[in-house]
């Protein structure tokens, strides 16, 4: 029997794009393209089993071995620091993690900086390197509103086009790190399904190259 590789895909537009890469790389699974509410799809002939999970849960499924490989944004990997291998930059879902503030903002450095973010670990590490005293305000959404309502001085968030920032009179102060989707692998699974995982990695790398 063919070794099955369990693949955790992030639900949503990015996940669909990622699946197309897998499909073009020769790991298609026709049932995934049918409209239904199923969450797990497999193609035993190709040795793959896909499942859709919440994007931020992908590293958990992979780290704990429920998935052998998965695709997660670098933002999620930096925030949760899972103990996994990061095998490939898929060069998609590109954006950046940045510090943004109101257009007239000036960091006086004389007071504790109030930082609103969905990513407390990334924000904490970034300012710790600068030895800057900060007060992290963990929010779960609509981060842009925080500086407008004086809840925070700055925000640390994902910036794609910058349109939302512009429309709310905010601007990027500093880029922390570029973000894109990464192929990750469970460390133990990588040992025992090595050939299969390396083949998938190689085929996906070719897709990344073809997409330029």
């Amino acid at each position: 029997m063919k070794t099955m590789i369990n693949v955790a895909l992030p639900k949503g537009r990015l996940g669909e794009k990622v699946y197309r890469y897998f499909k073009n790389a020769g790991y298609e699974c026709p049932s995934i393209e049918e409209t239904n509410r199923k969450l797990i799809f497999e193609n035993p002939d190709k040795g793959v089993r896909y499942f859709w999970v919440k994007p931020s849960d992908v590293p958990i499924y992979v780290e704990r071995g429920a998935a052998d490989i998965g695709v997660a944004g670098k933002d999620i990997l930096l925030e949760y620091e899972p103990d996994v291998y990061e095998l490939l930059d898929l060069n998609m879902g590109k954006c950046r993690m940045a510090v943004a503030a109101k257009k007239d903002f000036r960091d006086s450095k004389g007071t504790t900086l109030r930082v609103a973010t969905k990513f407390p670990n990334i924000a904490g590490n970034f300012y710790a390197e600068k030895c800057r005293d900060i007060d992290i305000i963990k929010l779960n959404g609509s981060i842009e509103i925080a500086p407008i309502l004086e809840l925070s001085d700055v925000i640390v968030d994902i910036v794609e086009t910058g349109t939302t920032l512009k429309e709310n009179d905010l601007e990027v102060v500093e880029t922390i790190v570029p973000i894109s989707a990464r192929l990750i692998a469970n460390k133990s699974g990588y040992k025992f399904k090595n050939e299969e995982i390396l083949n998938i990695r190689k085929s996906l790398e070719e897709q990344v190259r073809l997409q330029g």
Binding site: G65, D83, E86, L87, K187, S188, K191, F192, N194
Partner: protein, 374 residues
Amino acid sequence: MINDDKIIKNDERAIFALRALYRQYGYSQFKMSRFEEYDLYVKNKDFLVSDEVITFTDRSGKLMALKPDVTLSIIKNTVDRQGEKQKLYYNENVYRVAKGTHSFKEIMQAGLECVGDLHSYDIAEVVLLAVKSLALINNKYVLDISHMGLIAAMLDDSGLSHDGKASAHACLHQKNAHELRDICTKEEIAPEKTDKLCALIENSGNIVAVLSSIAPLLTTEDEKTAFAEFASLCKIIEISGFSKAVRVDFSVGNDMKYYSGVVFKGYIEGIPASILSGGQYDRLLKKMGRKSNAIGFALYLDLLERMETTEESYDIDTVLIHEADADTVLLAQAAEKLSEKGSVLISSNVPEQVKWRRLMKFTDGRIETLENND
């Protein structure tokens, strides 16, 4: 001796087998107290897997900790004298914060430490004992080995800044070649030096194949010395017949502040994380003001719960219910007879939380079957 798979759990069986193995190679057991002075851990915080420790003040006012680690306690109790060495094994519970949570977890850990004036044979013996430990637990295992001295020398030769080296080492740990290249590009490292570092990620697996790919890349004396040490250890592994189960993988890495030589991690199929972790940590001893060498490893036996076992479909084979005024002697005889065929639970009513194979009733010395789930 009890040797029933249904009774002995994976971790219990492993402890017996490992104890016998370590004794065979001259290791003696080290039994330690659950508590240790907190000061020991504060001084060597980075050596710990997790830096959160359960502390309490004892009756004399000393700040104590529930052991988060075994190695530091063992080292503290070994002598530091030329020509002497101590070979100790242990099987202890440690207390750490489980990753991603805020709660402490009790972890059963077994392992060994070889501390003192060590010969290269001692190093090889510990690595081979790590392989044999995994083999005792399951036949589907892998031991990944790497050499911190070689990695450190190659990072030194790369020309990366101090921070750059730390980031590059993190990339090696994650097999993240794309970001390693980005770091080198940002620091304007020559392409051949970048390729040389990336070779540490691109080459993993078979001992002979990896070593022959890496050898031609080495230029500095430090690199060559570390490589020669690593290659001679790999030779012993090959001669001992473990070249299929042991693989070279430079993503295995521990803190360079403490580890100087060989480092290794063991995996068992079906367990999602490494079950064994170890290495040569001479630098920790140096930091503690000692001249000795040291190598050791720990096995995280709590992870064996995840290993596939044949799950029992029933809690009990037979539940025998009886009237409140049943004759005790006759009931004891019936229980004895039924127990020859499997487990029996005698109860005056039908238990709610138990899943049984057969439900039987005892009336006037006779047994009748009420339900049979076979």
